[in-house]
Point group: D3
Chain length 323, copies 6
C-alpha cells in the first residue's frame, strides 16, 4: 500500500478508539470471518425489525453493537480474564428483503443453516433485530443438528401471541416454535415475566403447553443464581442443546431506555450479567441471541452497551468452559 505520511486508511472512525498498544478494544479483536480458519464462536447480525408489532428500529442494533466495540476492552477485571485467546469471527449481517417479511425469515433460516453446517462446533451468536428472528434461528439449528433443543428465554413477555393476528411478529416466537413442533413447551424456561405486560389468556396458553414461567419478583426473591440453577436442572436431562435468548426488554426501563416496550419493574443488568456468565460456562449452550434493542430511541447507546456487556459476560463464562 502507498505510504503517505500521517495518513490513515479510510475508515469510519469512532469516538473513544484512540490507538494504545497496551490495551485491546473489542473492535481490534473481533474481526471479519476468514476462510479455512476454525472458530470457537461465530457472530452474525440479523437486522430485521419490520416484523415488530410496534414501531421499532431494532434492525439498527447490529451496526450499533459493533460500533460500541471500540469503547470496551477484552479484559474482565472481576474474573481476571482476558478474552483474547478465544477465536471469534464476525460473519456479517444476514440479507433482508425490503418488502417481503416472510422472505426475511426464510433468509435467516437459510443463513443460520449454512452457519451451523460450516461451524458445527462453534457457538453461534445472533444480534437482532426483533424477537421474531428467534423462531427461524432455532428451526435452522434443529434442522442442522436434529437435537432436542431447550430454550432459556429472558423476557418481560411470554411471546405466545396467536399467529393469526398479524403473522410471525415479534410477539410470537415461542408459540411459533411450539406449534411448528420445533420445540416442546416443557423445554422452555421463561425468566423475568412482568406485571401488566401479559394477559391471563396467554399465561393459560403457556401453562397448558408446559412452559416454565418465572416472574421478575420471583427472580428478585429467590436470587438469579438459584433461578438459573433451577432452569438448568429442568432442561439438563431432557435436552441435547440449549438456546439462550435475551429479549433486552426484560430489563427495567431505567437501565435500558432504548427498547420498544419499556416499562418499570424489570430485571437489573447485573442479573443478566450473572446469568450470562453461568450459562457461558455450561457446555450445552450452543447458541444465543440478543433482541429488541432499538438504537434510534436510545440515550447514548446505553441499551446497546448493556446487550454488549451481557455478551461479554457470556464470553467470560465460555472462556472458563474452554480454558
Amino acid at each position: 500500500m502507498l505510504k503517505l505520511s500521517k495518513l490513515h486508511a479510510p475508515s469510519i472512525r469512532l469516538s473513544g478508539g484512540s490507538a494504545d498498544p497496551f490495551s485491546t478494544n473489542l473492535a481490534e479483536w473481533i474481526r471479519p470471518v476468514k476462510q479455512d480458519q476454525e472458530y470457537d464462536l461465530c457472530l452474525m447480525g440479523v437486522p430485521l425489525s419490520k416484523s415488530s408489532i410496534s414501531f421499532s428500529g431494532a434492525h439498527l442494533h447490529p451496526q450499533q453493537f459493533r460500533k460500541c466495540w471500540t469503547s470496551f476492552t477484552t479484559y474482565n477485571w472481576e474474573q481476571d480474564i482476558d478474552l483474547k485467546p478465544l477465536r471469534i469471527a464476525d460473519l456479517g449481517d444476514i440479507e433482508m428483503h425490503i418488502t417481503d417479511i416472510a422472505q426475511c425469515h426464510q433468509n435467516i433460516y437459510e443463513a443460520n443453516l449454512s452457519v451451523q453446517r460450516a461451524y458445527p462446533e462453534a457457538v453461534s451468536i445472533a444480534v437482532g433485530g426483533d424477537h421474531s428472528i428467534t423462531a427461524p434461528l432455532v428451526k435452522a439449528i434443529v434442522e442442522a443438528t436434529g437435537a432436542r433443543i431447550g430454550i432459556i428465554q429472558f423476557d418481560a413477555h411470554l411471546d405466545v401471541r396467536d399467529l393469526s393476528y398479524g403473522g410471525a411478529s415479534n410477539g410470537t416466537p415461542m408459540r411459533n416454535l411450539i406449534e411448528s413442533n420445533t420445540i416442546r413447551g416443557e423445554d422452555i424456561v421463561t425468566i423475568g415475566l412482568r406485571n401488566f405486560a401479559n394477559s391471563r389468556q396467554y399465561r393459560d396458553y403457556a401453562e397448558q403447553h408446559g412452559m416454565n414461567l418465572v416472574s421478575q419478583r420471583e427472580v428478585q426473591q429467590a436470587g438469579i443464581e438459584t433461578i438459573i440453577a433451577q432452569a438448568m436442572a429442568i432442561l439438563d436431562q431432557k435436552c441435547d442443546q440449549i438456546y439462550v435468548t435475551f429479549d433486552i426488554d426484560v430489563l427495567d426501563q431505567s437501565v435500558v431506555p432504548g427498547v420498544p416496550a419499556i416499562g418499570p419493574q424489570g430485571l437489573l443488568p447485573v442479573e443478566l450479567f450473572e446469568s450470562a456468565y453461568i450459562l457461558g460456562k455450561w457446555e450445552k449452550v450452543q447458541a444465543i441471541d440478543f433482541v429488541c434493542v432499538d438504537p434510534s430511541v436510545d440515550f447514548r447507546d446505553a441499551s446497546t452497551r448493556v446487550s454488549l456487556h451481557i455478551f461479554l459476560h457470556f464470553l467470560s463464562g465460555f472462556y472458563r468452559r474452554k480454558m
Copy 2:
C-alpha cells in the same frame, strides 16, 4: 355506521395498540363515564401547572397518562389479578382558566365537589397537574363528607411554603390545608423527605404543627412496609378517611427524569408500588392523586409509566379490598 372496507374509525392511534382479542389493554378497559351507571373508581384529569414555582408542563400529564394506557394490560402477573371486573370511569379533565389561577383552583374544588356528590361510594383518582391541586381537591372532600381526613403524602418536599410568597403554588398545599383548618398537621404523614430539598425553617414549621415526617433514608432503613404500617397506625384511629397524594418527585432522578424538581437520593419505584398496593387494600383510602410529572421534559414517557404503574398497584390492592 357506514361500512367501508378496511377503514377504521378516525382516532388518534397510538403505538403499541395493535388489536389482539386475547389481551386487554387499559385503553380498552377504562372508558368515558356513562350516565346511570355505578362505579367503584372515578378518574379525572387536573391539567394545571401554571401554579408551579419553576417552569412546569405538568398539565400535560393527564393526556400522556391516558396515552400510555395502550402500552399496558389489565393483568397483574405477580398477584395473578385481572383488574377487568372493577368498574372504573374516566370523567375527563377539569376545565382550566387561561389567566386566572385562583379560578382554576376554584374549578378544581367545584368539580371534585360534584364528583364526591355524584359518586359518594367511589374512590376518586386525580391525575395532576402540579401539587397545588391537592388543596382544593381535599377541601371539596371535606365539604362533601364532613369527614376528618388524614393524608399520606409521598414527597421529597414538605410543601409548607409560606403562601404570602407567591400564593397557592405547588410548594404550599400542606400549609394551605393546615392554615385553612381543613386538615390538622398531626393527621399528615409525609414520606420520602429528601436531603438538600428542604430548609430547617420549614421543617420547624412542620414539626410545630405536628406533621409526621419520614425521610428517604428512614424508608430505606426501616423498609417501606414498616413505614406504611406505622403511618396507618398513626392515622387509623383518629381519621375517618385517608387521602393519598403521590408527588412523583419523591422518586430518584434516575428513575423519573421527567419531574421538574429532579434530584438524587430519592425513593425507588418498587417502594411506591408496594405502598400503593397496601393502601389500595385499606378501606379508609377514598381518594388519591398523582402530581408533578412533566411529560415535556421526560424521556420516552418513563415518568408517566411510573405514575401509571403506581395507579395499577393501587387498583390491584383495591381489587383485594373489593373482591
Copy 3:
C-alpha cells in the same frame, strides 16, 4: 350525559386547542364520517411505512396530521375564504397487517375501491404513509371508474426503481403503475426532480416510457405557475381524471426536516402551496395524496405542518371550484 361541574369529556387534548367561539379550528370542522350524508371530500389515513427502503416512521403521519388540526383555523386570509361550507369527512385509517406488506397494499386497494364506490363524486384525499401506497390507491380508482388517469407527481425522485430489487417499495410506485398497465408513462408529469437523488439509468427508463420530467431548477427558472400550466396542458386533453401525489421530500431539507430522504436543493413550500391551490380549482383533479413525512424524526411537526398547509391550499382552490 351526566352533568358534572367543570369536567370535560375524556379526550386526548392537544396544545393550542383552547375553546374560542369566534374561531374554528380544523379539528372542530373535519369530523368522522356519518352514514347517509353527502360529502365533497373524503380523507383517509394510510399508515404504512414498512414498505420503505430506508427506515421510516411515515405510518405516524396520519395521526400527527390530525393532531395538528387544532393549531390551524379554517380561514384563508390571503384569499378571504372560510372553508367551513365545504362538506368533508374523515374516514379514518386503513387497516394494516403487521407482517404481510403485500396484504397491506391489498387492504389499501380494497379500502379505496369501497371509498370510490361509496362516494363517486367526492374528491378523495389519502394521507400516507410512504410512496408505495400511491400504486394501489390509483389502481382502485382505475378499477372503480375505468377512467384514463393522469398523474401529477411532486417528487425529488422518479420512483421507477425496478420491482425485482425489493418488491413494491416506496421507490417503485410509478414503475408499478406503468408496468401493470394502470397508467401510461406519457400521462405522468413529475415535478421537482433533484440533483444526486436519481440515476442516469432510471432517467433513461422514465424518458423511454414517455414520462414528463421537470427538475427543481426548471421550476425555479420558469416559475411554478408556468410549470403547472404546462402540466395541465399536457394532461388535459387525453386524461379523464387527474391524480396528484405530493411526496414531501420534493421540498428542501431546511423546510421539511422530517422526511426520510432529506436533501438540499429542493422546492420551496410556497411553490407547493401555489400548485395545490391551482390544482384544487381544476375540475379534473379527483384524488390527491401526501406521502413520506416521518414525524418520528421531525422537529416540532414542521414537516407535518407543511403537508397540512398544502392540503389547506388545495381545499381553498377546491372552494373556488365549488362555490
Copy 4:
C-alpha cells in the same frame, strides 16, 4: 480584589466568549444600569409566559437573549457602524408573581411607569415574555406621557381575542388596548398576518375598529420598504409616539423553530431586519418589544438569535438617528 494567579472571577461563562481585546461582544458592551447616568436606550426583561393560551416557555427568553450577547459583536459590517458610542443600560427583569397573573401585569405596568419617568428621553426596549405584556407596557407609556401612541405590530395573528374567553392572555393585547381606550384601532398597523392563523370573525372586529391590516403575501408582493413607508405615512400625522411590537411568530417556521405558534408562510428575517433598521431611524419610535420566543423548544437558540438581530438592526437605525 484578591489577586490569584490565572483565576478569573466567578461567572457563568458562555461558549464563544473568549477574551479578545480587538473585538467587543454585546455582553461586554451592554451593562447593568448605574445610578446618575444618562442613557439613550433602556432594556428590561419581562419574563412572563403563564398568560399564554398554549404551553409556553417565553419567560426564558430574556435570560437566553442576554446569554447570546457573547456570540455577537457590536459591529454592523453592512452599514459600517460600531454601536459602542450608544449609551445603553440593562435594567434587569421585572418581578413576577408565581400564581397571580393579573398581579404580573400590574407589576409590568408599574415597572414601565417608573422606567418612563426615570428615563423620559430614552428608548425603552422590552424583551418578553408573551404578547400579553404589550398591553400593560403601552398603558404605562400613555400614563407617563399622555401621548397619542401609534402601534406597528409585526404579527401572524390579530391578537384581538375576546377577553371574556380566558382573560388578558397572549391572544388579546390589541383588543385590550382598544377596549381600555388606550389606543385607537386606526392607530394600529398590523403586518404579516397569516393564512389559517386567524378567523373571519376577528378580522371583522379588527376592520370595524379601523385597524390597518397587511398580510404576509402583501408584504412579499409590495416589498417591506413600501409597507413600512405606508405604515409610517398612516401614523406619522396623528400619533405623537410610535410603539413597535415584534411578535416573532410572524416569521416562517423554518427560520424560528422556537416560537409556540410556529407555521409555514411567514415573513423572512431580512424583512424584519430591514424594518427594524428603518424604524430605528424614525424619531417617533420611543418603545419597542420582542415577544413569543420560547427557548425551551428552540433549536440551538436560532429564534433568540433572530430576535437579537432585529434588536441590533433597530440599534443600527437608532445610531443613524443619533449620530
Copy 5:
C-alpha cells in the same frame, strides 16, 4: 443603586430560583471570594477538556455545577445539618489557553499554587474538567506544602496510560504523578475499577507500582464503609495529607448519563455520597476534585446534580469535622 419599581438587577436567572426568605439555596450561600476574609473551603472551576482522549465537553461542568446551585438548599435533612456556618469562597475559573494544552496544565499548576499559598488552611475543591487536571493540581499542593500526599481515587479506570501515546491526557494522571515522583504508587487507593474498561497490561503496571486496587464488585460485596475504612487505614500512617479525586465515570451509566466513558456495572451514587461524608470528616483530607462530567451530553443535568450532591455530602462531613 437606582430604585426602579419591580425591576431586578440584571442576572442570568435560573429555573427553580424563586426567592423565599425561609429557605437558602446554594447560590445564595456560595459567593465570590472577597479579599481579607478567611475561608474554610475554596472552590475553583477548571474548565479543560481538550486533553481528553475521546470527545468531551467536560469544560462545561464548572458553569453547570454553579447553575444547579439554585436547585438545592443548604440543609442536609438526614444529618440535620445546615451548612451555612461554613465559610466557603468561589474563586472562579482557572484561565485556559485556546490551543496550548501544556500551557493549560501549567496554568492549573500555577493557579492552585497561589490558592494553596493564599489559603493554606482551607480545603480546596476543584471542579473539572477532565481527569488530566488532577496531576497539576496535586503537583501544586506538593510544591506548596512539601507533604507526602495520599490519593483516594474513585474511578472506573486506572488512568495509568503511557504518556508517550498522546501526552498528558485524561487517561494518564496517576502514571503522571507516579513517574514525576510526585506520588508513590503505594499511596494511591483506586476504588470502583470496572470490567472491560481496563487492560491486563495496565493492571500489571499499577500492581507493580504498589497501587491499591478495589473493583466495583469488591465494593458491592464488602460494603463501601468497609472499603473506605481500609483505604484510610492504608494511607493514614504514611501520608501527611489526602487528596480525593472523584471521576464521576465510576458510577453506573444509568445514574450518570452525561460522562464521556459511560458503561454498565458501575458504583451507585449512594456509595459515593457515603464515602464523601466519611472523607469529609477526616482531618487529613485537604483537597478534592470532581472530574469527567460532560454537560453537553447529559440529560437534565442529572450527572452534574450527582457531582453536586457528592460535594454536599463532603461538606456535611466537613461540617462535623469543624463544628
Copy 6:
C-alpha cells in the same frame, strides 16, 4: 472468501444504502486509495477541532461526510453529468495527537506535503475539522509547488484574529498565512462577511493588508456569479494556483444548524453550489477544503449534507474541466 448463504461481509451498514444495480451511490464510487493508480482528485479527512475557540465537534465531520455518501448518487440531474468517470481516491484521515495541537498542525502539514508530492496533478480535497487546518494545508502546497497561491475564502468571519490571543486557533488562518509570508493579503478574496460577526479593528487589519472583502449583502445584491467572476479577475493574473476554502458558517443558520458559530443573515446554499460549480471548472483551482461543520450539534446531518453537495457541485464543474 468463505461462502455463507445470505450472509454479508461485516460492515457498518448505513441507512439508505440498499443495493440497487441501476443506481450508484457515492460510497460505491469513492473508494480507498490504491497504490500505483493515478487519480484526478484526492480526498483526505482532517479531524481536528481542539484548535477551536468555542466548543466544537468539527473533528467528527470527516466520518459523517463519508457516512452520508450512501444517501446520494453520482448523477447531477440539472447538468446531466454522471461523475463516475472521474478518478477519485479517499486517502483516509490525517493522524492527530491527543494533547499537542501544534503537533496536529505539523501532522497536517506533513501529510499534505506527502500528498502534493505523491499526486502533483490531482486536486486535493480536505474535509475538516475547524478552520485552523487551512494554514498548514496551504503552507504544504507552497512548500511542494513554490507557486504563488491565491485564496478564495467563503466565510462569515475574517479569520485574522491576533495569534497572540490563543495561538493558531480557528479564528486565525488568514492572519497566520499572511504573517508567515505564505500568502499575500491582496491574494485573498473573502466572500460572505457577516454583520455582528466581526470587529472594526479586524476589518482595518484586513484592509491594511489588501484583502478583498465581500459582504453577504453585496453577494445578494450583485449576484454570486458576478462576485465569483470578480474574484477570478482579481486573482487570475497574479496567482499560479487557487485554493478555495469553504467555511460552512458563511451560510445562514436556518440552512446549516450544525456549525459552531451559527447566525442569521448568511449566504444561501445555492450560492455556494453555484460558486463551487464555477470554481470546479477553473483550471487554476488545485485544492479545496470544507471546514467548521460540527455533526454533534447538527439536525439530521443537514449541515454535512450541504457541505457534501458543495463538494458534488465542485466535482461537476471539475467534470466539465476534464471531460
